[in-house]
């Protein structure tokens, strides 16, 4: 039997506000337990929630960016369930009337055409607190700092057909919310979490198979691994003539498997009803238009511009626009260097490698864009060779790490890195080397072209890598041709 996977994702985007969705308590990450949980977050009697206007603006920003309908009238509901990290016994969410309606996101896998993934809706809700099960014997510790943190839950249609597509969608969502500056995108701190609904069906069948839900994945790689595991698990059951049970599962990264949570037999009966503590949200056209005017350039638009304006390939433009900070850095380097393609090569190559090695994000790049721009300009105008430039890059990087802003030209000057482009000087060195290596000259004359590399190496050694390589090649061929 040929099986087809059907996947839908629910992505929880933590909105980057200063205060909570319904209270004036802080949302900063990493505070001491329960020092950011005020009476509203604790669900103490007599408190009332008041909606944060920034949360509304961010949700509308997101909605417009995915081409969605913004609902002029949306309602907050209570989703009822019992868990110790949910003090009120209900989560304030949106059910029948979410703030953002149908939209879409375009994903692209390497070497494949772009694909449009439909988004069903996006609604606002409050996060729950955190339960710590390990630290206390027979007890669970509860930290309610996260309770009331604003979330935008984005629900996709079951449009995704592979784990790779699901990961691409999650990545694209991550890139989008960072460009929109509505989420810090910090996966390790849980700023974006994802639930995956996974089912399989015989290829060609339109009816959906029974699905399971993998909860709370906060890494692109783990999402892909978890879904692949789950697809395999379900196919294995079906191939053996079994039946997939509807289930909620957790991914265990250490064992690379999903496991049943077995806790929610009674769930999915949340008895939603409108929260009487909150009035419906009315949005007028003028407000929506004002948000639309403030929309930044979206990743897809930026990618298209890099291709048309800078002549970059689809792949390069996609790479550089994935992270808004890297894109901003690249544009500054390109402007300073005056050569957008060479700038792209350096940012994608040496710079990205250095950032990775140092485990730094682009916004924390220690090397000023102008310094890298100057370095590239000096390659362009022939002052330094590409090889020398790589060594110089390392020097500039180290200086940046030490908190200095080095003067690129001064270093080239003081360290004598200037490329030797003086024909006479290079020719003299070549003559010496040719005279000192008669055996290799003989080999070259019998047609061994490879020996040229040996001579180039010798010249570079003699000039400490500073000879202009193009000139060395030309002059060497001439010199060798003169040998009879």
């Amino acid at each position: 039997m040929q099986w087809e996977a059907v996947i839908g994702l629910e992505v929880h985007v933590q909105l980057a506000t200063k205060s909570k969705i319904f209270s004036g308590a802080a949302t900063a990450f990493g505070a001491e337990p329960n020092t950011q949980a005020c009476p509203v977050d604790l669900g103490l009697p007599g408190v009332l929630p008041v909606l944060n206007e920034e949360v509304v603006r961010m949700a509308v920003t997101f909605g417009l960016a995915i081409g969605a309908e913004i609902n002029p009238y949306s309602v907050f509901d209570r989703k009822n369930y019992f868990y110790p990290d949910l003090p009120k016994g209900y989560q304030i969410s949106q059910f029948a009337d979410p703030i953002v309606g149908r939209g879409h996101l375009t994903i692209q896998l390497e070497g494949q055409p772009p694909r449009r993934v439909e988004i069903t809706r996006a609604h606002l809700e409050e996060d729950a607190g955190k339960s710590l099960h390990e630290a206390f014997a027979g007890k669970t510790g509860i930290d309610l700092n996260r309770a009331g943190t604003p979330l935008l839950e984005v629900v996709s249609e079951p449009d995704l057909r592979s784990a790779a597509e699901a990961a691409a969608y999650f990545r694209q969502m991550h890139s989008l919310v960072r460009h929109l500056k509505i989420c810090d995108g910090n996966l390790a701190e849980g700023s974006m979490r994802c639930d995956a609904n996974v089912s399989v069906r015989p290829r060609g069948q339109t009816e959906l198979g029974e699905r399971t839900e993998i909860k709370n994945v906060n890494s692109f790689r783990f999402l892909e691994l978890a879904i692949n595991y789950e697809i395999e698990r379900q196919i294995h059951i079906l191939d053996a003539g079994g039946r997939v049970e509807r289930d909620t599962r957790l991914y265990d990264a250490e064992r690379n498997e999903t496991r049943s949570m077995r806790s929610k037999e009674l769930s999915n009966d949340y008895r939603y009803f409108p929260d009487p503590d909150l009035l419906p949200v009315h949005l007028d056209e003028a407000f929506i238009e004002s948000v639309r005017r403030e929309l930044p350039e979206l990743p897809g638009e930026k990618q298209a511009r890099y291709q048309s304006e800078f002549g970059l390939s689809d792949y390069d433009a996609g790479f550089l626009t994935q992270d808004p900070d890297l894109a901003g850095y690249y544009e500054a380097v390109a402007a300073s260097a005056g050569d957008a393609k060479l700038a792209a090569n350096w940012v994608m190559g040496e710079l990205s490698a250095a950032l990775n090695r140092a485990d730094l994000t682009p916004d924390a790049c220690p090397l000023p864009a102008a310094s890298l721009g100057t370095l590239i300009r000096r390659i362009q105008d022939g002052t330094i060779s590409g090889k020398i430039a790589k060594g110089l890059f390392e020097k500039l990087w180290s200086a940046g790490v030490d908190g200095q802003t080095p003067d690129v030209d001064a270093i080239i000057e003081s360290e004598g890195l200037t490329q030797v482009s003086d024909t006479g000087e290079i020719a003299a060195i070549i003559d010496e080397i040719v005279a000192a290596n008669p055996a290799q000259v003989e080999q070259f004359k019998t047609g061994k072209e490879k020996v040229l590399g040996f001579f180039v190496g010798q010249v570079m050694k003699a000039t400490q890598g500073k000879a202009n390589p193009q000139m060395v090649n030309e002059l060497l061929r001439e010199a060798l041709a003169r040998q009879d």
């Binding site: 209270s23 020092t35 949360v55 019992f82 110790p84 669970t140 009035l279």
Partner: protein, 93 residues
């Protein structure tokens, strides 16, 4: 109208009722549902569901941190705390 699963409802509400209590509550609920059935007979075609009895829009507040959290005060009423955490009976095996 008597197909009320009273055990399912008490489980959802986390209530422990005796047989006698459960029977009484089921009777009350049946009468409430009868009333709802009468309301369902109304023609509500084209009427937007009422989300709130007050016919006005939500007032929003600016995104500012205004709450100073006095953890000791808020935890004074909690049955058990440790290291700043609220402690509850263990909820997972």
């Amino acid at each position: 109208m008597s197909d009320i699963d009273i055990r399912h409802l008490t489980a959802l509400a986390q209530l422990k009722l005796s047989e006698v209590e459960a029977e009484a509550v089921a009777g009350d609920l049946a009468r409430i549902i009868d009333m709802v059935d009468q309301m369902q007979a109304m023609d509500t075609e084209g009427v937007r569901p009422l989300a709130h009895p007050l016919d006005t829009a939500a007032r929003l507040r600016p995104d500012e941190v205004t709450e100073i959290v006095d953890r000791d005060l808020y935890q004074a009423g909690a049955p058990e705390t440790e290291d700043g955490l609220y402690l509850v009976p263990r909820v997972v095996e």
